[in-house]
């Protein structure tokens, strides 16, 4: 019995490994997806080893003697109006942006996913109520909704994550609902129900894994969306607060001086682009690799 169980587990593990290998084989053939992956690894490297490759003190230390210096061997990206090293700030900024992007997308996926799944699975009036509320939220532009929420909750990084997650909730709920609906009607779900499986089992073991593809793709891409919106809100002064080295906040600070010191707006902008681009490309790569219609 025990032996049979191990053997069974082993074959499941093998099958899963085969799936992953197949996924990777198809993913790496896609050149733009690989570019995205390299960019993503670069940003991850910056975030993880920020304290090795940059100077943590220089992020917040005011140094009037060296303020407003252009790029040099000592300060690669120059120094800002307070004499802080822009290179160190940009590198440490990758931690903030990645954290905000990943956490808010994950939270949005969790909440939206549960709502969408409940709506799809139970249907009826519950479905109607949930989806009508989502429609209402959809008709307020996401940036505006996030802005209103941050204003209500107070400006802080945590509240920014909550606001971003809530304002993107409708798209996750809709997507989960629609991709679940196609699965819910399938024969194997009917079989599981007929077999007497409980709701939780059917949702998490049968429906979820099969409805996952589009959801993974959207989550990856929404990370990039969240990072862009977060930097916009910080730019408007309601997101991450100074002196934290958030890219959008850095650009807001540099805005007044951009005529005399244009270098101040270059590096934070480039880093936002790299980060957002990497998640978009990787998301596209996932979609192509997961799409059975594109199978060769």
């Amino acid at each position: 019995m025990a032996l049979a169980a191990t053997k069974n587990n082993k074959s499941i593990a093998l099958k899963r490994k085969g799936k992953l290998k197949e996924f990777w084989r198809r993913y790496k053939k896609n050149r733009s997806a690989m570019v995205g992956l390299v960019l993503l690894l670069f940003i991850l490297f910056c975030a993880i080893f920020a304290n090795v490759i940059a100077d943590e003190d220089a992020v917040t230390r005011h140094n009037p003697e060296i303020r407003r210096q252009g790029p040099s061997a000592e300060h690669w990206f120059g120094t800002d109006i307070y004499g802080r090293d822009i290179y160190s700030r940009v590198i440490f900024g990758s931690r903030i942006s990645l954290m905000i992007g990943v956490f808010s997308a994950a939270l949005s996926l969790l909440l939206g996913g549960v709502l969408g799944a409940v709506a799809a699975y139970f249907g009826g009036w519950l479905d109607d109520i949930i989806m009508r509320i989502m429609d209402m939220l959809m008709s307020i532009p996401a940036t505006l909704l996030a802005l209103t929420l941050v204003a209500a909750l107070g400006s802080s990084t945590t509240n920014l994550v909550i606001a971003l997650a809530l304002s993107n909730l409708p798209s996750f709920a809709r997507l989960t609902r629609s991709s679940m609906l196609t699965v819910v009607d399938s024969d194997y779900v009917e079989a599981a129900k007929a077999y007497g499986a409980r709701n939780g089992h059917v949702i998490f073991k049968e429906v979820m894994p099969n409805a996952m593809g589009p959801i993974i793709v959207q989550t990856t891409q929404s990370v990039s969306n969240m990072i862009l919106t977060a930097s916009s809100l910080s730019f408007l002064g309601v997101g991450v607060q100074a002196p934290a080295p958030e890219w959008g906040a850095m650009l807001a600070e540099a805005r007044e001086f951009m005529r005399q010191f244009p270098y101040m707006i270059i590096s934070p902008g480039i880093f936002i682009i790299i980060t957002a681009l990497s998640f978009n490309l990787v998301g596209d790569g996932f979609r192509d690799a997961l799409d059975p219609r594109l199978k060769d």
Partner: protein
């Protein structure tokens, strides 16, 4: 058809009330005391307390909300701005046209950019041109609009001095915002056009036309493009709807007096009546735009028209 329109308009009412509730609820949490804002920092505590009582701000949340809805629906009275003490729509309606122009410019720019390039890259799938267009599109989505706006101002206003960097008085003021919004939204139109075209190009009727020897140009524009248009129209409509209130960044950087910047200002000042009126107006416009999009479907696709006529 009229019945369908009427039904859709009626359906908007509960949606708008729901949105009003959500915004009223969120704004209730916003820190700040309206009475204090109106009277200023020098006012005495008694005066502030008296005004709070007069404005009915001591009542419970639901009492205030239902009073608001009652006044809005029955008397069409959306209140007075706490900041200017004038009826809210004085401010909202002077700014709304600017927002409409901005959104129109952004929508037209994105369409003119996205549709031709999208069709071209679909027709020449896997060519160098297709790759180049895709790279440009991907980079465009990743660029934060406020950064693009800053770079444009730097180059065209500060260095070259050919275009104004702030204001909304002449059409020249709309050039840089249009470029900004086109860069931000054009790739969405491009990508949907490309994928929709790729789908229709593979349809049987396109192959039939090819087999019949119909000229390539006619196949692309008459057979494929017309049928590929539906999702493109939805996207363009959605862009217009979201730009109406979502061009906040653009309005802020270019100092344009639109609705978006009014909302930002009002949120910061806790000017609840203005925030409510603006967002309700935006949501209403969004609903109307989506209705227009659906009606346009009917003009393009006779099958959908038949469905509407059945009610």
């Amino acid at each position: 058809m009229l019945r369908y329109i009427g039904k859709r308009l009626l359906q908007m009412i509960p949606v708008l009330i729901g949105i009003a509730f959500i915004i009223f609820f969120i704004m209730d949490f916003t820190p700040g005391d309206p009475a204090r804002l109106i009277l200023g920092q020098s006012a005495t505590a008694e005066a502030v307390e008296q005004l709070t009582e007069e404005m009915g701000l001591n009542d419970s949340f639901f009492t205030r909300f239902f009073r608001y809805i009652y006044n809005a629906v029955v008397n069409l009275d959306f209140g007075v701005s706490y900041r200017t003490m004038k009826p809210v729509f004085d401010d909202v309606f002077t700014r709304f046209p600017v927002s409409i122009y901005i959104a129109l410019c952004g929508m037209i720019g994105s369409t003119l950019f996205g549709i031709p390039l999208g069709v071209l890259s679909a027709v020449k799938q896997y060519s160098k041109l297709d790759t180049a267009v895709n790279v440009v599109a991907m980079t465009m989505v990743a660029m934060p609009p406020f950064w693009v706006a800053m770079v444009l101002i730097l180059v065209f206003s500060l260095y070259l001095g050919v275009l104004p960097s702030a204001g909304a008085t002449t059409w020249i003021h709309y050039i840089l915002p249009t470029i900004t919004l086109t860069l931000a939204n054009g790739s969405a139109v491009l990508r949907i056009t490309r994928s929709s075209m790729l789908e229709t190009i593979r349809m049987d009727y396109v192959r039939t036309a090819q087999a019949k020897g119909v000229p390539r140009r006619v196949i692309i524009f008459k057979h494929a493009f017309k049928n590929a248009l539906l999702p493109v129209i939805t996207t363009v409509g959605y862009i217009f709807g979201s730009l109406l209130g979502g061009a906040i960044i653009c309005e802020t950087v270019f100092a344009m007096p639109g609705l978006g910047s009014l909302i930002v200002l009002s949120i910061k000042m806790k000017d609840i009546p203005v925030v409510m009126a603006s967002i309700i107006l935006l949501a209403l416009s969004y609903g109307v735009i989506m209705l227009i999009v659906d009606l346009m479907y009917a003009f393009i696709d006779p099958r959908i028209k038949a469905k509407y006529q059945r009610g």
